[in-house]
Symmetry: C2
Subunit: 267 residues, 2 copies
């Protein structure tokens, strides 16, 4: 290597580093994906829940001569794209406003179980599904947000196809059929890995036929959180995305409407 | 420069670049700040609005022997830490769910007017305030989210100190006294700079004594958005933060509860 070559290599490396010097560039150049369904009368809620209401306070030209619109709304905490705080199933655990921002953001790990869920509406994501992901992508990183792509987002908001039933109340609950996370796999995640949250594209972390909500209880007893009724998981890579999941900050909330987006960074 | 020196410089540069190769490191190493007040009975709403309600659906041990809690809530769109969609004051403009994610994230520009607002509750942020910011920090970057730190967050949620009045209804509206953005400055921002949104730590982008809400109308006619009742703006640097402002995705909403955080990247 002569001096000119060395100088050239140096200059190329300096240029490369300068490109990275603007630390905001990762955010400016990334691609943003919305993983959230809109809240409206079609939003999917638990069969025992009351639906969302969005009512007009004022809409139109006002007496001062300019356009104005304003509405009010009401909802249960656990419908549509929403956040579960640990206190939903764990006494004394964090309510929504107490979950620190650091736990609402993290590296996305997307586990694709669409093939299995397509032939079994009651499919429960297993330890083997996570092990198979790790064989291809390496160990689930500490601080990951684990997202389960069951493919059921394709049915949203068709209640019958998405949840398995159109019935309301207790009869509806009995007839729920959609995939979820198996309690053994929930236990493996909390014991064997260090994750922040689990999300999926069905109405509940536990599958529709669950009677004891054991995966909820396992996750929340360890102060983990969950996201339910997610959209667009099939737009995410298996790894390398960054998830930002910001729930409405309801004091004392056991859950809340969630706005969740993913950042796909430019390689 | 001899060969050994050249080699050493090269190795140092390679090491520096490798450190930057993990593009998620900016997100992993950054510091997150929550700019959001919790929603509760104390949340500050417009004097004509009804307050937030958060009601228990179930809380305690259930008949299956495990703890469970769930609540429901209702609110007007424009109270507490919230988002204004352009349709709030601009007919046919974007409602909440139509604002693209790219417009909900951007570089933070924090303009400190605390000294002026401390001696004048009716202070309106001026073109000169922005010019003074630019003299110190350079031109407001394209795509910026402009945040006005009036210092009024220190009074939240004390209604009298924060808004100027405890009265409800029309009498309350007449007696509002808090700082805002002057319409001339709003016009300068939309005409002379390319920003995405304006946020501040008071109940409204227009100051309390505004009768025509002209700054709202100027911003929203150009499809810009606004954030009101922000927290913790004094924790942000004048520039170099990244703002992520995710409203509850209410279809047709003129506004929505907003969860807003800032990322302070490690230099």
């Amino acid at each position: 290597m002569n001096r000119v070559t060395a100088l050239l290599i140096g200059l190329i490396l300096i240029a490369g580093c300068a490109h990275h010097r603007d630390r905001l560039s990762v955010l400016k150049e990334g691609r943003w994906i919305d993983l959230t369904w809109s809240f409206d009368e079609q939003s999917v809620y638990w069969p025992t829940n009351i639906p969302v209401r969005h009512e007009t306070v004022f809409e139109g030209m006002n007496d001062k001569g300019y356009y104005y619109s304003s509405f009010k709304f009401s909802a249960e905490e656990h419908g549509g794209t929403h956040f579960d705080a640990p206190i939903h199933f764990a006494k004394g655990a964090n309510s929504v406003e107490k979950v620190p921002v650091e736990q609402l953001v993290g590296e996305g790990v997307v586990v694709d179980v669409t093939a299995k869920a397509a032939v079994d509406r009651d499919y429960q994501v297993s330890i083997e599904d996570f092990q198979s992901w790790e064989e291809k992508n390496g160990r689930i990183p500490d601080g990951a947000i684990v997202l389960l792509n069951t493919g059921f987002a394709q049915y949203y908001p068709d209640k019958l196809k998405y949840t398995g039933t159109m019935l309301a109340g207790a009869a509806g609950v009995e007839n729920l059929h959609f995939p979820g996370l198996h309690p053994d796999a929930a236990k493996w995640l909390v014991d064997q890995r260090k994750i922040k949250a689990v999300g999926l594209d069905t109405p509940s972390i536990d599958f529709g036929q669950s009677k004891d909500f054991m995966s909820h209880r396992i996750l929340y007893a360890r102060n983990l959180t969950a996201y339910e009724n997610l959209a667009n998981l099939n737009s995410l890579p298996a790894k390398g995305s960054w998830i930002i999941a910001l729930p409405m900050k309801i004091r004392g909330g056991s859950g809340a409407p969630l706005r969740i987006v993913a950042l796909i960074v430019k390689p």
